[in-house]
Amino acid sequence: MSDRDRLGLQVDRIRCDGAGLCAELLPELISLDDWGYPILAPDAVPGHLRPLARQAVDACPVLALRLVPRPAPVEAS
């Protein structure tokens, strides 16, 4: 996956009100904390999970979840 294609999950923390549909649809990358709010995996979404990730973004009732460009972390030399 080239740097330009890498996408990661991001949530608008203020809009999010803990509906939790994202975690149901994408449990591989999203889990819920003790109060029902999402904990997102920080890395880029693997290719085979992209369609599910887009479904999760569509399913959010308040449009808080987003797929955003996520360049690879720069390794410290």
Binding site: R15, G18, A19, L25, P61
Partner: protein, 198 residues
């Protein structure tokens, strides 16, 4: 004979779409109440609500088209688009036309929700509570077997399902739901407001 067929199709499709839209409203209430069960995750409710509404739209389309082309009703396309323009029971049919307009608005805005924005979408979605009763009333007033016992029973069933769902929603406060959050906000946090001074 074919006239009868069209008339059956109109009434049949109308009744099916009404039942489906009733289910859609109930699923919508369950969705916003964040209801779930161990074997029924919330995305199923959300998914069914969406997909069933699209399927109901197909039956609604069938109901309208068969009614318009039916030579017996002499409705013409104008009556399907303009409320109260039909010559056959104009009031009742007209209410149905309004219901369709509202439903089209609901579906279109939902399909473009990401582009429309959350606030506008939500404001328009409240119209669902106007569209559904109009559909029920339209059915009661304009069907030829509208007063048949079985049809009335169906109407009562649909009204009861939606009625119970709405009552349940109003009476249940679920932990983590927006109502609870508002309560917590009122207790715990004072909004940080102030005034500019020169």
């Amino acid at each position: 004979m074919s006239d009868q067929l069209l008339w059956f199709a109109t009434r049949g499709a109308g009744i099916v779409s009404l039942l489906m839209f009733t289910a859609v409203v109930v699923l919508g209430v369950l969705n916003v109440s964040r209801w779930q069960a161990p074997s029924w995750p919330r995305f199923l409710t959300a998914g069914f609500h969406r997909n069933l509404s699209l399927l109901a739209l197909v039956f609604l389309g069938l109901h309208i088209v068969t009614a318009v082309v039916d030579p017996f009703t002499a409705l013409g396309p104008a009556a399907a688009l303009i409320p109260f323009a039909s010559s056959y029971r104009p009031l009742w049919v007209g209410l149905g036309v309004i219901a369709v307009d509202l439903i089209v608005a609901l579906v279109v805005t939902s399909l473009i929700r990401a582009r429309l924005g959350q606030r506008a979408w939500r404001a328009i979605h409240w119209l669902a509570y106007a569209a559904w009763p109009l559909a029920i009333v339209h059915g009661i007033g304009s069907g030829s077997d509208n007063l048949a016992p079985w049809m009335l029973a169906l109407d009562v069933l649909c009204a009861a399902l939606v009625g119970v769902a709405v009552m349940w929603r109003l009476m249940t406060v679920r932990s983590g739901s927006p109502e609870v959050l508002q309560q917590v906000v009122a207790e715990v946090a004072r909004p940080a407001r102030g005034r500019t001074v020169r």
